[in-house]
């Protein structure tokens, strides 16, 4: 799966789960600069990303998904 196909879908998922405008979501979007991205928000984000891209992030990596960019890289690696 290419960046081009991942980016818009992932941006929509982030915007919906975190309550942001899609245009406000960038590679730099992370818990430190996004108050809605708290621990519960993180779980919601992981579940929504997994469903959207039909992937399962291994338990060891669930807590490492700490920015939009990392999420994108994880999907590139995991997506079929």
């Amino acid at each position: 799966m290419t960046i081009e196909s991942i980016q818009p879908r992932l941006r929509r998922v982030f915007a919906q789960v975190l309550g942001l405008e899609e245009s406000a979501v960038s590679d730099a979007t992370a818990p430190d600069n996004t108050p809605q991205w708290d621990s519960l928000g993180h779980l919601r984000l992981v579940m929504a990303v997994e469903q959207e891209f039909d992937i399962a992030i291994p338990a060891e990596q669930v807590m490492d998904m700490v920015s939009f960019k990392i999420a994108r890289l994880m999907i590139e690696e995991l997506a079929p």
Binding site: R12, V13, A15, Q16, V17, G19, S39, L40, L43, R44, M47, A48, E50, Q51, E52, A56, I57, P58, A59, V62, M63
Partner: protein, 603 residues
């Protein structure tokens, strides 16, 4: 069920986890005018994620949920402590999800080592825990309780082989435990089990568990699991808060049977034990099941009346016969006219009707002209018709009483009563000829379910339309209120429990009693039963030291016929709006029981 005011928000909603989150956020400020239900969630694990799903699924059903989620693993602490956050939240509904893995993890882990006595002990301890929590909740709150039935824990290594339901298996233990817990819980008013195993089954075991989240965040369910839980819980809560619709209106051709009677004839319509006739029979059986639960059945069909009645009477595979229907509109006039007539015949509002018709044009026509009628969207194949009625949720009822079944029998004799009325010279003569025998008494454990149901359902003859829950009513009675019920039989049969009056002593004014509620089932309006109820209440209140009865009329869209009730009974108006009325209790002869009523009172 989806209110028009918020249906635009659901456009583009695709049911994905992210769209639930987005919708929950948008809906929150948009639901101000929907009725609020305050829902508290308590669990032995993390379930806070369920909130957004529950909020959306509540809105879809016309309810505005305000949701509080307690910290995980604090069920008993929150429920036992009168000063807890739970009670500060003032919940209307408390949902409790306790998992065996969390409650008694080591016992179920070592399940195989427990002997029979050990297993009995475990079952009794757990059932008692549920009862204690329910009792404690009831001491501090009138909230409805939903306690989740247990799902068989998935514990690697504990059982020999999954998929075998041995008498000694954990699965068998869990089933017995759920039965025992249901009995314990139901000994407390307005407390029931929530069918969590059904939620689990609907989602599917594989997709329900999320081991990763269980280890990482004590959150054992998947996102999809939470979405299904939110949906099922919202449905259950709606059933607790919203009474079922009263009447199912069925079309005939291609609905109750396959084909068009006018073209195919009695022998040509499809009905029987092969497809599609068996699917049409399944729809008829679903309707029959509803009728057993007290839902009135009616027909709205464009057909030749004689021919249709002939098919209903004569066809060997017909499940429903003419006597099962309380109203039949079979002619060539339009369905809107038919639906209005059905409501009028049955003396119910058109907003109590649910319409089933295979023809999308007829459905659209009814939707447009009568938005208050619930129109069930049928799937394209008849194979899904019966299930569509069930899944519409319009007939969901938290409580089904014996009186529900009785009502249908009663309504089927309504035409005979009408004939008697027409042949009687005067109202007096008619009321005498009905040979009414009434039985009344103070509300007790046997009658309270039906009384609460009447409080919830009665619109037309209801002076105040106060929807007390069972727990509310019990608290009122414990605080000194007098609540009286009445049953009525007449020469045509038993009408069941049809009237309620509740008197409450006014705080701070000795001798003044307020008529908090006064209502009659619509099937017995016009027989002076309200006069008897006031008479009974007056006698009881006088015996408790009351001197003055204060009547209240709280105007609603539906109860205008009771506006002059207190004036008719010699009460004095105390305000220009006609809301407050009073009358001295003495002499008691001013509160007579009608002479044509043979009344017995159970002390």
């Amino acid at each position: 069920m989806l209110p028009p005011s918020i249906s635009p928000f659901f456009e583009g909603f695709d049911g994905s986890l992210s769209s639930y989150q987005a919708l929950a956020r948008k809906l929150d400020p948009a639901m101000a005018e929907l009725p609020e239900v305050r829902v508290a969630l308590l669990a032995s694990c993390t379930i806070e994620v369920a909130k957004s799903f529950l909020l959306v699924e509540g809105a879809r059903r016309g309810l505005r949920f305000t949701i509080w989620s307690g910290p995980y693993g604090q069920i008993e602490q929150q429920v036992l402590d009168a000063g807890s956050e739970l009670y500060a939240f003032k919940p209307d509904v408390v949902f409790i999800l306790a998992r065996l893995e969390d409650l008694v993890g080591s016992q179920v882990q070592g399940f195989i080592t427990l002997d029979v006595a050990g297993r009995n002990d475990l079952r009794q301890t757990l059932a008692k825990l549920a009862r204690q929590v329910a009792q404690s909740l009831r001491r501090h709150s009138a909230a409805s309780l939903l306690w989740s039935a247990y799902v068989t824990p998935r514990l690697p290594g504990v059982e020999g082989a999954s998929g075998l339901f041995g008498a000694e298996s954990l699965a068998a233990f869990t089933s017995f435990l759920n039965g025992a817990t249901a009995m314990e819980i139901e000994s407390v008013s307005d407390a029931r089990l929530f069918d969590l195993p059904a939620v689990f089954a609907r989602c599917g075991s594989k997709r329900w568990h999320d081991e990763r989240m269980s280890f990482l965040a004590r959150m054992p369910f998947s996102g999809e699991g939470f979405a299904v839980l939110g949906t099922c819980l919202a449905r259950a809560i709606r059933a607790l808060r919203v009474p079922p619709r009263k009447c199912l209106v069925l079309d005939l051709d291609n609905t109750m049977w396959g084909g068009v009677l006018g073209e195919a004839g009695l022998g040509g319509i499809k009905l029987g034990d092969t497809f599609p006739g068996n699917a049409h029979q399944a729809l008829q059986r679903a309707a029959q099941g509803l009728r057993n639960r007290g839902v009135l059945l009616a027909i709205a069909s464009k057909n030749n009346r004689e021919e249709a009645l002939d098919a209903l009477e004569q066809h060997p595979d017909m499940i429903l016969r003419p006597a099962d229907f309380s109203a039949m509109e079979i002619h060539w006039e339009d369905k809107v006219t038919s639906l209005r007539r059905i409501a009028k015949t049955l003396n119910i509002g058109t907003d109590a009707l649910v319409f089933v018709d295979d023809n999308p044009v007829e459905r659209e026509w009814v939707r447009k002209l009568m938005p208050e009628v619930a129109v069930i969207e049928l799937p394209t194949s008849v194979a899904g018709y019966a299930v569509a009625i069930e899944d519409s949720e319009w007939f969901d009822a938290a409580v089904v009483t014996r009186d529900d079944a009785l009502r249908v029998v009663m309504m089927s004799r309504q035409s005979e009563r009408q004939a008697l009325q027409e042949s009687s010279g005067s109202l007096e003569e008619f009321l005498n000829a009905l040979q009414m025998r009434a039985q009344a008494g103070e509300v007790n454990a046997e009658t309270i379910e039906r009384v609460v149901q009447l409080l919830a359902k009665t619109n037309q003859f209801n002076l105040t339309t106060r929807r007390h829950t069972r727990a509310d009513l019990e608290q009122m009675i414990a605080a000194g209120a007098v609540a009286v019920w009445m049953r009525l039989e007449d020469k045509f049969g038993d009408n069941g429990l049809i009237g309620v009056v509740i008197g409450v002593p006014e705080a701070g004014e000795a001798g003044l009693w307020r008529v908090d509620s006064l209502l009659l089932s619509c099937r017995v309006i016009g027989r002076g039963i309200e006069t008897a109820l006031l008479g009974l209440l007056a006698k009881q209140v006088l015996a408790r030291g009351g001197r003055v009865l204060m009547g209240e009329f709280v105007s609603s869209e539906r109860n205008q016929q009771t506006k002059d009730l207190y004036a008719r009974h010699g009460f004095e108006s105390k305000d220009s709006a006609g809301q407050i009325w009073t009358k001295a209790l003495e002499p008691l002869e001013n509160f007579p029981i009608p002479a044509y009523l043979d009344l017995t009172y159970d002390d």
